[in-house]
């Protein structure tokens, strides 16, 4: 899979070059997200996570590479496969686990669950379980950002499948007509639920969607965290300066199935193998070792630290009490 990069349509804002510290932070963040999701998977098998859950192993570069661009006052909307951006944004891992476990100490008090991690104080405006449902909401947050006039942006994450639903097109159209500071971040992992993109969509390069709206667009290797950073930083700079929205297509792959009950047997083993070889964490580890910012031992130490931290957070979450079953709906939602 070759990643292509389209030329943006407008004068570009300057992108801040990454420092060595940024690079190590990006590596650690990808590892943290990976270890979070691995811990979710383990917890699911132990019966701690209920119903279903949608994991993002393999797509960590998108969450980490975009996450480093956002300001504290930006608005971030995402989907049921949104644990990655929540962790990248600094959601407390224990509160996230507790939410997945349905506990009182969960970030939403156990009411939301795996598909609805929300933390408005961190600008994490919501996880939407309906494909495409969050895009118009992020457009509204984009209107807020524009009206506030403080250079905020609204970013919205979604998958390839969402580009086939009406909400996507209405959101793209409104954002472009109103020149809103919205980043449409498409994680093209080639599969909408259990079906490969070529069975549902006229083309695989979804950057073509943006053309119909004359929206600035860029396609990047979504497994290259620095490429994701550069594209996002440029688009964010443009949006903050009043240059309008950008469609960012990140070509990536989910290592696991759509949800926990999906073994993903519909995928060609060769395709899976090729993408596993392009694991974003392994790619970046090799790149940083080459740059002499990291050694194999140091990388392993980071992985071990994050694994231990996620395990500890998960164990604390699992020990938390259940919510009170006498929940007062009126007080909860109308007070």
């Amino acid at each position: 899979m070759k990643a292509k990069t389209a030329k943006p349509q407008r004068a570009t804002a300057k992108v801040r070059p990454l420092t060595d510290k940024d690079r190590l932070d990006l590596f650690r963040m990808m590892v943290r997200i990976r270890e979070f999701e691995e811990e979710v998977q383990r917890s699911y098998l132990e019966g701690l996570v209920h119903g279903t859950t949608h994991l993002c192993q393999g797509q960590e570069a998108v969450s980490a590479g975009t996450g480093i661009v956002f300001r504290e006052d930006d608005y971030i909307g995402y989907t049921y496969r949104g644990h990655g951006i929540c962790i990248a944004r600094g959601m407390d891992a224990e509160a996230a686990f507790a939410e997945l476990f349905g506990r009182e100490t969960g970030v939403c008090g156990g009411v939301g669950g795996s598909m609805h991690l929300t933390d408005i104080d961190k600008g994490l405006i919501g996880a939407f379980g309906i494909v495409g449902g969050g895009l118009p909401v992020s457009v509204g947050a984009g209107v807020t950002a524009q009206l506030n006039g403080r250079g905020q942006i609204s970013a919205t994450f979604f998958g390839d499948g969402a580009t086939n639903i009406g909400a996507f097109h209405e959101a793209m159209n409104i954002a472009q007509v109103w020149k809103l500071p919205v980043l449409f971040i498409c994680e093209n992992n080639l599969y909408g639920e259990f079906t490969r993109i070529n069975h549902t969509t006229p083309y695989e390069d979804l950057i073509k969607r943006a053309k119909g709206y004359e929206m600035a667009a860029v396609q990047v290797d979504g497994n290259d965290v620095e490429a994701v950073y550069a594209a996002t930083a440029e688009a964010a700079g443009r949006a903050r300066a009043g240059g309008g929205p950008t469609f960012i297509e990140c070509m990536t792959y989910r290592h696991r199935g759509h949800s926990r009950t999906d073994p993903a047997k519909y995928r060609d083993p060769k395709e899976v193998e090729a993408w596993l070889a392009r694991d974003p964490i392994k790619l970046y580890e090799a790149a940083l070792i080459k740059r002499k910012l990291l050694t194999k031992q140091k990388a392993e130490a980071i992985i071990a630290e994050e694994r231990a931290a996620m395990r500890a957070a998960s164990e604390r979450a699992a020990a938390a009490p259940w919510p009170d079953a006498g929940i007062d709906f009126q007080a909860l939602t109308f007070a």
């Binding site: 408005i120 209107v143 609204s154 159209n173």
Partner: protein
């Protein structure tokens, strides 16, 4: 009290609230320089400008969803749905996002937004532009649903809806837009819940919504000529539904008739009948009766449409058959 139309009452509420709080903005189709297809936004664009009076594309999913995004990030948006029928276009945003967002966040994310939907039959608009839609969202926890029947209610409830910290759906009726009535401009903000007794009576309780309230009052006039005193109640709010005062009335009259401009199955009349039966069963002298549209879409041809909408005569005849 000022004598103004239902349309002017809506506009007065919008103007007054938008002047009071610059976080309030309104979005909808043709509501900018055009003032709205039903002229409920006339002059707003000139007074408040394009940032706060936003003409949208014909894309209800897009702009109703955007209203939620604005609401959870500090604004107080109002979305105008040109015809209530178009609520079908943005059903997902209302039912799955707007109604549930605060709940799913554990109560932390407030969503102060208003959706105004102009509905109703009687203007020869045919099946896709004549529905009240008032019961479509009735089974969705998380929404407040009101249906003003007069200029004063339209003015008061819209102001209350805009000030509420949660999503409110305001069903307006296009056949009422030109009707006049006294409005308490600048008066106290009324509650968004609870029915209101408009005409006291001792022989039957007639509960109606929107344009059917006027017809129920006309029916009461007809019945009075025959010596039957009907108590007419405007239900006002469908969610939360407060049937306490209705049951109270039935304990006095022993007869319950509901009147709504929609098909019987799934209408709010069934819920009122059930709740009143639960709380005042021993007081009912007859099974509750529901006067509704027939079980088919609203037809276009004037005699067909007129025959479909509950008339004062039909309401009166139903009451008479029970007392």
């Amino acid at each position: 009290m000022q004598e103004i139309t239902y349309r002017e009452a809506i506009l007065a509420a919008l103007q007054e609230e938008m002047r009071r709080d610059d976080k309030i903005l309104i979005m909808g189709e043709d509501i900018g320089p055009s003032g709205g297809p039903f002229k409920t936004c006339q002059g707003l664009y000139e007074e408040f400008g394009p940032a706060r009076v936003r003409d949208t594309p014909i894309a209800e999913t897009g702009f109703v969803g955007a209203a939620l995004g604005l609401a959870i990030t500090g604004y107080r948006p109002i979305a105008e749905i040109m015809f209530a029928d178009f609520l079908g276009v943005c059903f997902d945003q209302i039912v799955n996002s707007i109604a549930k967002h605060r709940f799913m966040s554990g109560g932390k994310v407030k969503a102060p937004l208003v959706i105004r939907a102009i509905g109703g039959a009687g203007l020869r608009f045919g099946a896709q532009h004549s529905q009240t839609g008032e019961s479509w969202l009735l089974s969705v926890p998380g929404l407040t649903i009101v249906c003003p029947s007069s200029p004063n209610e339209a003015y008061g409830m819209l102001r209350a809806a805009i000030r509420a910290d949660n999503p409110v759906i305001v069903f307006e009726h296009k056949a009422l837009l030109s009707t006049k009535g006294p409005v308490d401009i600048g008066g106290p903000i009324p509650p968004l819940t609870g029915p209101r007794v408009l005409r006291p009576g001792s022989d039957a309780t007639v509960v109606a919504s929107l344009a059917m309230v006027g017809r129920a009052l006309e029916a009461a006039e007809l019945l009075a000529k025959d010596g039957i005193e009907a108590e007419v109640i405007d239900i006002r709010s469908l969610r939360p539904m407060d049937t306490g005062p209705i049951a109270e009335s039935v304990r006095k009259t022993n007869i319950l008739v509901t009147v709504e401009e929609q098909a019987q199955i799934g209408g709010w009349g069934g819920e009122v009948a059930a709740q009143v039966t639960e709380s005042a069963f021993d007081y009912l002298d007859a099974p509750p009766a529901r006067v509704t549209l027939p079980d088919y879409p609203v037809p276009y041809s004037p005699p067909l449409e007129d025959a479909a909408i509950p008339s004062p005569e039909r309401i009166a005849a139903t009451v008479k058959s029970l007392v």
